[in-house]
Amino acid sequence: MNMNQLTRRRTQVVFGIMLLAVSAVLVQLVRVQYGTYAPIFARRVEVAENLEDEITPTRGLIYDRDGDLLATNAPMYYVEVEIIQLTDTSRREIAGVLSQVLNLPYDDLRNQLEADWEGAEQWRIRLRQTTDAGNNWPIIVDQVVADMLNGFLADPDAPDLSGLDLAPAPQRSYPDGTLMGHVLGFVNQLGEGFFGVEGYYDDWLTGQAITVENGDVPLQASLLPDTPAGVNLVLTIDLDIQQMVTDILAEAIENTGAESGQVIVMDPRNGEILAMTTLPPLDSNNYEPWLPAENDQEEEPVINPIVAGQFEPGSTFKVLTMAAALDAGVVAPDDIFVDEGVIEVGGVEIRNWNGGKWGPQTMTGCMQHSLNVCLANIAVNRLHATLFYEYMQAFGMGQLTGVDLAGEVAGQIRTPRHPEWTDADLGTNSFGQGISVTPMQLITAVAAVANDGVMVQPHVVRTVVGPEGEYWPQTIVLGQPISAETAHTLTAMLNESLNGETNFAQVTGYQLAGKTGTAQIPDEFGYDPTWTIASFIGWGPISDPAFIVLVRIDRPETSPWGSVVAAPVFRDIVERLVVMLEIPPDDLPQQLAVEQGE
């Protein structure tokens, strides 16, 4: 072989290699453009090219006041299917596995997998389920199920799940289950907060989404934008107190055969809610029953009776009537009222709870025996309508407290300006009938008596921690409906009446003040003859009140009376509360002084 032939041969080899390489590139090009998976690539380009994509930041975390995690973001996954990869076998087995693992109807899944998605130019679908409430939502699986499905996908001997894919989706998770349900609310599958803290602070928790434009050059070496996360919240709630209160309330409901109940524990000095429980509970992890169906036009269910459930407060309201009368100077604690057992106001006869005559009674006695006639007399003949309703307005009746929980309602009170108001309303309002309040309103108003007459706004968020720093909400004073002197006088009266009225609420070693309530339940015919709402509101220690507790128990079977049903719950709670809040007994300062003297 001469030189020329050698050169020619080498050239042919090089050209051959180049031709092969170019051919391979061309074949791959044709395969991508027109092959089996061409629609998927085309769809990806269509979706990605020059379109804006929104990157949602991580939702903020929620802690209790001691740092216990209350709401976090657990890894969850959407169940998706690449239509082009499905086979007859995988359609059958995907439906079979998912229906068994997730307890979903097989036929529904099979129908979704066999629909003509290609005809609709859909190449990747997200499997959905119809919930009990009628919502049609994407299926979401947790990490355990995801691990199992991924194991099936990797195992050639496992069921054929070709085409199945799991797309990460952050999901809200509540480690304490139902314990904080009514306080926290919940977040739905679309990442929207509803009710409670999640609803009220939804914008802050969600953070700031960033919109980016997808470029047309693949694998650009540009970092994905790092979105600012939502703020973290620290609540005023103490999870240990919340658990204790919930346990005691649950036991009381079981023992009394009651339908439901609520308890609020608040610091009257700054409005911090230490515990707030409602039974039956809301499970924030399984919030489905609390959502209205998508096609349901009716009102949304009352999610938290503490801020959204109005009731006629009954005798606990007498605290406010007596506070108004003392503050206005129209009565004094030792004034005598002769109870005849009945008083007529605006053509309506008002009687005492037992229908009896109680004879001469001091104002303290009126509170101790919870005399409707006495309180109606004070409102009608001493305070009169104008002054009475001015005080009630100052106590926030008929107004929102502004508590930082979504869904609060204002309650209702008819004043003389209302066209349907009558004199009888003044008489009945004085002992808590014909007026509706929420438990949050009632405890906020009565807390003013425990806090030197100063009414503060209740709140559940203690600290907001954002990327820029911390924010500590300040105590907001809503007003001072009564003087400090009146507040101290009434507290002493209620301490005395508590010791006399019912020993069910007394706690050894601590001086407390409080008032029972037994409210009738209005219905379409007037008042329900059978059922009542038993309640108790009390605070202590009276020398320096550090807590106020409201107990409400709906429709108890064993006894209708607040003194029998609700007062013991108050006592049980306070016995544990003073330990958890490290409040020493009232006589401790003297004991310590004696010990130091020795």
Partner: protein
């Protein structure tokens, strides 16, 4: 004075001329091919360099994506562990375990209170700040790494976006 060349000398000159003419014919295509091939080679060199830079660029992009995925996985794992920890330390679970160990809640009368001078209550709990995030522009790589030659040339001539 005239020089007289012999016949041999004349033949020798003719042969040299013919040889020179033959070589001249070869030099002409060599010059032409030089003019064509040099730009091609230069173009190929520049293209090769450009391809190298872009392939590195793509590799870095892929590495960024891989690290982003890793970060997401780690965050998910962290969230899962936090949730598990919160479940394990929930008050109900702790109370259950304490009772199993024979403990019960203390009553107020069982507690001895002492006055300690200078005692300071623990500082209130404050969680870590959430990540501030970076604006998209800030988080992108410098134009030094992303600017293309075309963009630079366009800028030189004032046809670009005027960076």
């Amino acid at each position: 004075m005239h020089a007289i060349w012999s016949t041999e000398e004349v033949d020798q000159v003719k042969r040299r001329r013919q040889q020179a003419y033959k070589h001249g014919q070869k030099r002409l295509p060599t010059r032409v091919s030089d003019r064509v091939l040099l730009p091609v080679v230069a173009f190929l060199l520049v293209s090769g360099l450009y391809l190298t830079v872009h392939s590195r660029h793509a590799r870095v992009g892929r590495e960024v994506l891989r690290l982003e995925e890793l970060k997401t996985e780690l965050l998910q794992e962290q969230a899962e562990l936090s949730t598990t920890l919160a479940e394990l330390t929930s008050p109900a679970r702790m109370l259950e375990q304490a009772e199993a160990l024979g403990f019960r809640p203390a009553t107020a009368m069982e507690i001895d209170y002492l006055e300690i001078e200078g005692y300071q209550a623990p500082a209130p709990f404050v969680p870590n700040r959430p990540p501030a995030g970076l604006a998209h522009e800030e988080s992108s790589l410098s134009p030094a790494y992303t600017e293309t030659l075309g963009e630079r040339i366009f800028d030189w001539f004032g046809w670009g976006s005027g960076q």
